[in-house]
Amino acid sequence: METAQDTIQQTGAKAETSKTFKGSGSQVLLNGLIEEGVTTIFGYPGGAIMPIYDALYDYADKLEHILVRHEQGGIHAAQGFARASGEVGVVFATSGPGATNLVTGLADAQIDSTPLVCITGQVFAHLLGTDAFQETDVINITTPVTKWNYQVTDAKEIQEVLAKAFYIAKSGRPGPVLIDITKNAQLQIEEFPEYVKCNHIRSYRPKPKVRVEFIEQAAALINSAKRPFVLFGQGVILGKAEEEFKAFIEKAGIPSAWTIMGEGAIPTSHPLNVGMLGMHGNYGPNVLTNEADVIIAVGMRFDDRVTGRLDKYAKQAKVVHLDIDPAEIDKNVKAEVGVWGDCKETLPLLTNLVNENKHEEWVAKFREYNQQEIDQVITSELYPAGDEMTMGEVLRNINEICGGDAIIVTDVGQHQMVACRYAKFNNTRSNITSGGLGTMGFGLPAAIGAKYGAPDKTVIAIIGDGGFQMTPQELGTIMQFGAAVKILILNNRFLGMVRQWQQLFHDKRYSFVNITSPDFVALAKSYYIEAAKVDERANLRAALETMINHEGSYLLEVMVGRENNVFPMVPQGMSVSEIRLK
């Protein structure tokens, strides 16, 4: 491993030979994980990773291994762990099907910038390319969906590669890394040097030295603005810059809206938090995007679900874009000033240079639009007049019970948009959802991981009846390891989001969205998980309280209206200012 060797040399760190370790590649891998501060591993054994599992047998006191029921569940759990804790999630899987089952989670983690280190077993090096049992070309399969990957065929590479993997996964714009280790390397006995963490790779620059002139240009633009508008994304959370961000918007008095990945970076109740951007976002933030004169984008990437039709997006505005990934600046929306850097460093510099301001009239405009949305959409969603329960009222009850302190993990679809719209968050790292990839089946395993990542928090997994049926096997993981996850199934007996589109854009031709479900309560109970079902509003509040106050895991199925739609909505191909309230 030439490059990793170089890395170690370039750090100037001396590999001390005094603390050498004689053992197998598997043991030195586990030692390295401990050195990197890993405590929890989500995984599933198999033939090609057996030596690592054999070594793991002796590490039970140092490394907690959660046996998932499917590798996809394992990687989503690791994602949930990483998102809740801010640490790197670690996954073990075997070769072949074990490794290919990771692909959805890798793609999800790649697009949502989630730091992961995945270890896969591989057939013996001498069998590579022979179509051996459970051999797949994992490196090439995972190349487009990893920040970095590497195949280890010699145990002597393991330490350097592992150190590099952790450094790459969590530095710069975080992302998933995969290390594929052939079985012979896992078994190989060597005398290993002391583990040295990686903090420099010559071909990799996780963040630049901040250039003050661009901060000055950005500040000048912000200070000249009459209607400035901040759009923030997960970059604020990934950069652990929540306080710096709050200080910036409070000093400059700029209304701020979030992408769903950025939700919770500042509390829902913050007076400058004007709500959600994008397709099912709030009315004001969408409409006023096309009225702002300066847009300050912080750690967000102008995804098409946020921008709607790009050639009618914020054309009047000058854009300041703060991002750690230079490839994001000028990618979808041209920036007047691109501030490349870690927002933990750039935001305080910017805060220093911006004038104190309040922009009262401008902020009031957001409130006016919000009032219209309350009148036309939100009230009937949160306090429905009809007999059918709405997803919104379930969320309102959760807010009232938890007060905004729970971690809400969602799956994908209507319930996800409703949860992001209506859930209240007091704390960062509390909204965990599959944003970029939109992975149905993410919710349940991610919630399990989130509970390990934040054991003191109430973790509520909100999942649709469709998404739940994609990864229900992870109830087995809860059964065996006892993660106290509250599972809330919002059942509308439809694949609701697809149905909504079919209603609005395909003449109500409901093509294969009518999905049936098993008896979820019986299913949960077969896994020895307490469960209940509510189909009347009268029982909703008490049922939610029972679920949340229950000591262990609990599944609650709530029957909601079949054909409710999520509004507002920016129809695909339309401008954000053409957002529909109904």
Binding site: E2, T3, Q10, T11, G12, I139, N140, T143, P144, K147, W148, N149, Q151, I168, H200, I201, R202, S203, Y204, R205, P208, K209, R211, F214, D325, P326, A327, I329, D330, K331, A335, G338, W340
Partner: protein, 212 residues
């Protein structure tokens, strides 16, 4: 796009939106799998690679890729950013044809009898600057180094005379204004990034638009 020595460059709307040939130069670690990682950046966007060459660079251990594509400035700029984002890639430059010196090598196998009998063939070969690499009783192999039009023109000219085999290499290109990678490498190897390193074109917009 060229290196930091180029200050002036005329850039009009046609340059930004119109497609033209760009040569992308990638300095990277020599690592198994990196070629695939770079190639899929193009195929993901359904962009055809016209020519691809990997070779050593002026620095021991650092590889240099030359990739030729026919695209607009905007597309090439975004591709370059995505390539540079790969962990083992040190630096990416992209240039129009007037900013580089480039060559391709072509080999032509023709029947020796035809050559011997037809004086015109010999004249053709002289005219196109070809050199004989192998001469056997049955066939002769000629080589031509030059631009695409030159090597293509000889193919056309040889067609009537039994061109048995033809092959052309990928493009290799030298950037006119490049001072080489030695100084840049020192910055990359330094633990703390310097000012020079963090330069890139959007940050320097308005001043040195073609500076990376």
């Amino acid at each position: 796009m060229s290196t930091e020595n180029t200050i002036e460059h005329k850039i009009d709307k046609a340059d930004l939106e119109g497609k033209q040939e760009y040569t992308i130069t990638v300095y990277a670690e020599n690592r198994i799998g990196l070629l695939n990682r770079i190639a899929i950046i193009f195929s993901k966007r359904k962009i055809n690679i016209e020519s691809l060459n990997t070779s050593p660079s002026e620095i021991d251990g650092i590889h240099r890729f030359n990739i030729v594509i026919h695209e607009s400035y905007e597309v090439v700029r975004k591709l370059a950013r995505q390539i540079e984002k790969q962990i083992e890639v040190l630096k990416v430059y992209f240039n129009t044809n007037d900013e580089i010196i480039w060559q391709e090598l072509a080999l032509y196998k023709v029947s020796t009898d035809e050559i011997a009998e037809r004086v015109t063939v010999e004249r053709l070969l002289r005219q196109y600057g070809a050199s004989a690499v192998v001469i056997r009783k049955d066939y002769t192999v000629f080589a031509v180094t030059g631009h695409r039009e030159e090597t293509d023109a000889l193919v056309k000219a040889l067609e009537p005379y039994e061109l048995i085999e033809f092959v052309r290499s990928a493009r290799v290109a030298i950037i006119k204004d490049s001072a080489g990678f030695h100084e840049k490498l020192k910055e990359f190897e330094a633990f703390e990034p310097g000012e020079e390193l963090v330069e890139n074109e959007f940050l320097d917009k308005g001043q040195k638009i073609f500076t990376m």
